[in-house]
Symmetry: C2
């Protein structure tokens, strides 16, 4: 199953959005999605399975529950495909990237903690 097929479903996109905020139990995800899309628990579970089986999410046990977390590897692939078109909407982006790649290795940030505030 291609990554884009996985992302083709709105429920799965929503699940990924939720997971992007942090690890969540299946039940929590189910509650949110149930409310928003009006679908059943098994339906959500099946979507989670698709995410799992295609590498978009990982699971771990926590007693009774299953805690899901996002795994961005396939998203990166999607991004890679998209980037081929990026020049069309951000003509300057390519130049910036080049510059960045250079600056990045020069600067070698030590970035342990995040002392910078990205948004306020």
């Amino acid at each position: 199953m291609h990554a884009f097929d996985v992302l083709g479903d709105p429920v799965r996109r929503r699940l990924l959005e939720l997971l992007n905020e942090g690890e969540r139990a299946s039940g929590e995800l189910t509650e949110v999605v149930r409310a928003e899309f009006g679908i059943s628990q098994p339906a959500v579970s099946q979507h989670l399975r698709v995410l799992r089986e295609n590498g978009f999410a990982t699971v771990r046990r926590d007693g009774n529950r299953r805690l899901y977390a996002v795994d961005a590897a396939p998203l990166r692939d999607v991004d890679a495909w998209l980037r081929r078109f990026a020049a069309r909407w951000e003509p300057h982006l390519m130049a910036l990237e080049t510059e960045l790649a250079r600056g990045d290795r020069e600067r070698r940030t030590s970035g342990d903690g995040e002392e910078g505030r990205h948004s306020g």
Copy 2:
């Protein structure tokens, strides 16, 4: 139809790839896709319609033919969604973007050439 649904189809992705190399006539696209996917001309035409109607492609007349070109607007939307996850595969990217946005307006004067440490 959501942008991700449009991209969910491999034929349409391929068409976009081809269009990304430059304007092409429907017939040319049809030939390539026919060879690769073994589908008929109407099938391709219908995919082109989906691309058109969802803003992924534009058409113009050239005598007998219809020349298609890619329109990246919806791809940008997709990219915008993806970017919310970008920090997961490129932890430094967010910082770089922030820095760039700032550096871009600061640098403006250009000439110093040492943009080495914006520190932080």
